[in-house]
């Protein structure tokens, strides 16, 4: 059927629609366009825009055979209380079929404070594991072979320190840095814009990040040096297009910073990775994933003139949307996560964390996390969604939506360029305001009923508070303080002092790569708080832009 014929038939269809609407008025708040046809993608060139898996612009996926060769890594984010408790959970997950590790750290650790700092009171071990020094890290990976496993660590401002600790633990296991596989999140820009666990101001933070790029390119070549994240931007309330646009803008800032620091783009770009949200609208999410790969590939090729294909490939870890979990009727969350998993898989993620049903209320119990992991395994093995590559390609709707999200992303990136780049956009509050406006609109839509959330504003029931939630023992703080005191008494405090002094000197020299100095300090059992304390002293602390 030629496009002209389709156009004519479409007009006839529209007439039948009017008749149908008279009898069946359409439900409110639906997208305006009800149907997509070849006309909606008539200008999309298959070879140029869609292409093939593993071929520029990677719309259809970054690997040629995708899940037919190997499933995405089933990587469950975990960690709470002490290193001993978290180690147990990691081994439970591996035994249950998880194929990668993912470490959650508590807020004091994420913000560079030791468990015995005044500011840590009440926070130790609550949202992740408390890591005060190499001693805790050794316990965290007890009986886990760092030469075999790949580990992602959700750590940003003090990523350099945790990476150094990981390398030091591996050393003790006889595993050399060149064998290590894993990721550090290490994405400070989104901390300023959406997540809040920053320490230092932008300049020294970017220096630390580029130091890590350089250090790893030479010493830890299999390590993903950054997980440029949109997940949190989406969780903070952004739309799908904003999620990828703001993240890619951050990515552009990191690449620019690294090039400015003297690195060659093809020497580090292949180890940049990303982190997307898997939200509720399944088809929009698939389109978002595909659009993101296309946009990044074009950015790397046209803007940064990358030569290596690996430099242009957007490899991504995904997490199902935590903000979409409800406290009401928590078992419904199992269904939500299953749909979000389908979206991530059809979207072509390299790695996936699935939330547990109870996570609107608490960290997951063993039983809940098992269901979340089984969700991935059922999608992988039973649903058929992983058996054919990029199965939704060619859908008029999904291709049109991919194009639309791509176009919206370019608009935002252009706007951010006009402001002066991601750092400037964050300093001026532009990204934060966009996110906030989207978040407010969402909430108003829910409260007006324009958006339905089952169990919350429709199909509510009277229910009892759920029992058997995970509780982090309040004594964890005291336990960590005691451990710290004991460790400090045993270590060579002269060596610690010397290493910290050397680190301080190195911090003041912008041309020094800080990783070797941090490694040295970490090996003396200098604490995270002590090391970050030195960096705080030299770099200062970020003053947040408070805007409403």
């Amino acid at each position: 059927m030629s496009n002209e014929k389709i156009q004519a038939e479409l007009a006839a269809y529209e007439a039948s629609v009017q008749k149908a609407i008279a009898r069946f008025p359409e439900r409110p708040h639906l997208p305006e366009q009800r149907l997509y046809t070849p006309l909606d993608i008539k200008d999309t060139d298959y070879a140029e825009e869609i292409s093939f898996p593993g071929v520029y612009p990677y719309t259809r996926g970054v690997q040629p055979t995708m899940y037919r060769g190997r499933f995405w890594t089933m990587r469950m984010y975990a960690g709470f209380s002490t290193a001993e408790e978290s180690n147990k959970r990691y081994r439970y997950l591996i035994e249950s079929g998880a194929t990668g590790l993912s470490c959650a750290f508590d807020l004091p650790t994420q913000i560079g404070y030791d468990s015995d700092d005044d500011i840590s009171e009440g926070e130790v071990g609550k949202v992740g594991v408390a890591i005060d020094s190499l001693a805790d890290m050794e316990i965290l990976f007890d009986k886990i072979d760092l030469g075999k496993v790949s580990t992602s660590m959700t750590i940003n401002a003090p990523a350099s320190v945790l990476l150094a600790m990981y390398i030091a633990v591996a050393e003790k296991q006889g595993v050399t840095p060149d064998q290590l596989k894993g990721t550090i999140q290490n994405d400070i820009l989104k901390e300023y814009a959406a997540r809040g666990t920053y320490i230092f101001p932008p300049r020294p933070s970017m220096r630390l990040i580029t130091n890590i790029f350089e250090f790893c390119s030479k010493n830890v070549p299999k390590w993903n040096t950054i997980s440029i994240s949109g997940y949190h931007i989406r969780e903070a309330g952004s739309t799908a297009s904003q999620e990828i646009a703001f993240t890619i803008a951050d990515g552009i800032a990191y690449v620019e910073a690294a090039i400015k620091a003297g690195l060659n783009v093809d020497d580090f770009a292949g180890r940049l990775s990303f982190f997307w949200n898997a939200h509720n609208n399944v088809l929009e999410e698939v389109a978002k994933f595909r659009a993101s790969r296309r946009v990044w590939a074009k950015v790397m090729k046209e803007r940064f003139h990358a030569q290596k294909p690996k430099s242009m490939m957007l490899r991504v870890h995904t997490q199902t949307a935590g903000s979409m979990l409800t406290a009401q009727q928590p078992n419904n969350n199992i269904v939500r996560v299953a749909l979000q998993t389908a979206a991530a898989v059809m979207g072509g993620t390299q790695s996936l964390h699935t939330n547990s049903r109870d996570e609107a209320l608490a960290l997951p119990t063993e039983e809940s996390v098992m269901i979340a992991l089984r969700t991935q395994q059922i999608v992988a093995y039973e649903s058929g969604l992983a058996d054919v590559i990029d199965p939704l390609a060619g859908s008029y709707y999904v291709e049109a939506l991919t194009n639309k999200i791509e176009a919206e992303a370019w608009d935002y990136i252009k706007k951010i360029d006009e402001i002066g780049g991601a750092v400037a956009a964050i300093e001026k509050g532009y990204i934060q305001k966009e996110i906030q406006d989207s978040a407010y609109k969402w909430q108003m839509d829910v409260e007006s009923g324009a958006k339905t959330i089952v169990g919350v504003n429709k199909f509510q029931i009277e229910e009892e508070a759920p029992k058997n939630l995970l509780r982090v023992d309040a004594s964890v703080g005291e336990k960590q303080k005691a451990k710290l005191a004991e460790m400090k008494a045993k270590r060579d405090n002269a060596a610690v002092e010397a290493a910290l002094a050397e680190l301080e000197k190195a911090c003041s020299d912008e041309n020094e790569n800080l990783m070797p100095h941090i490694l040295k300090a970490v090996r003396t059992y200098a604490t995270l708080g002590e090391i970050c304390g030195v960096m705080r002293k030299v770099f200062g602390e970020y003053e947040a832009h408070v805007s409403l």
């Binding site: 994420q110 404070y113 609550k126 666990t197 969780e235 209320l361 608490a362 409260e447 939630l469 409403l548």
Partner: protein, 130 residues
């Protein structure tokens, strides 16, 4: 002219999640209150001092990190200690139902848990502010 209700929206502790706090702050503003938002990483001392300096009628805290059992009662004590006996102190975020009685005992007037519409918070303030 009627004096507008003044609300301090605060983020105690290290928790960086501010979507809820900002949405609530804006909803309160749209409902006609005067709202001051503290931003992140406020110690209990900083919150109480801000409440005093801004002469607020309400302190509204948002926390998702699980540190509320320690931080909320501290804020209440410090606010009361500064002589603000009538200030309405409320909280919200990821707070298990089981923790709420103890928080109320400590002086938190109401706790707003996930799924609560902003209108419920507005109404509570209007009905309970002194």
């Amino acid at each position: 002219m009627e004096k507008r209700i003044r609300v301090l929206v605060a983020k105690p502790g290290l928790d960086g999640h501010d979507r809820g706090a900002k949405v609530v702050a804006r909803a309160l503003r749209d409902a006609g209150f005067e709202v001051i938002y503290t931003g992140l990483r406020q110690t209990p001392e900083q919150i109480a001092e801000a409440a005093l300096q801004e002469d607020v009628d309400v302190v509204a805290m948002s926390i998702l990190s699980g540190a509320h059992p320690h931080l909320f009662p501290k804020v209440v004590d410090l606010v009361r200690g500064k002589g603000m006996k009538d200030t309405l102190i409320i909280g919200g975020g990821v707070i298990p139902e089981g923790d709420i009685p103890a928080l109320k005992e400590a002086g938190i007037a109401e706790v707003f848990t996930p799924g609560t519409p902003t209108t419920a918070i507005v109404d509570f303030i209007k009905n309970n502010v002194k």
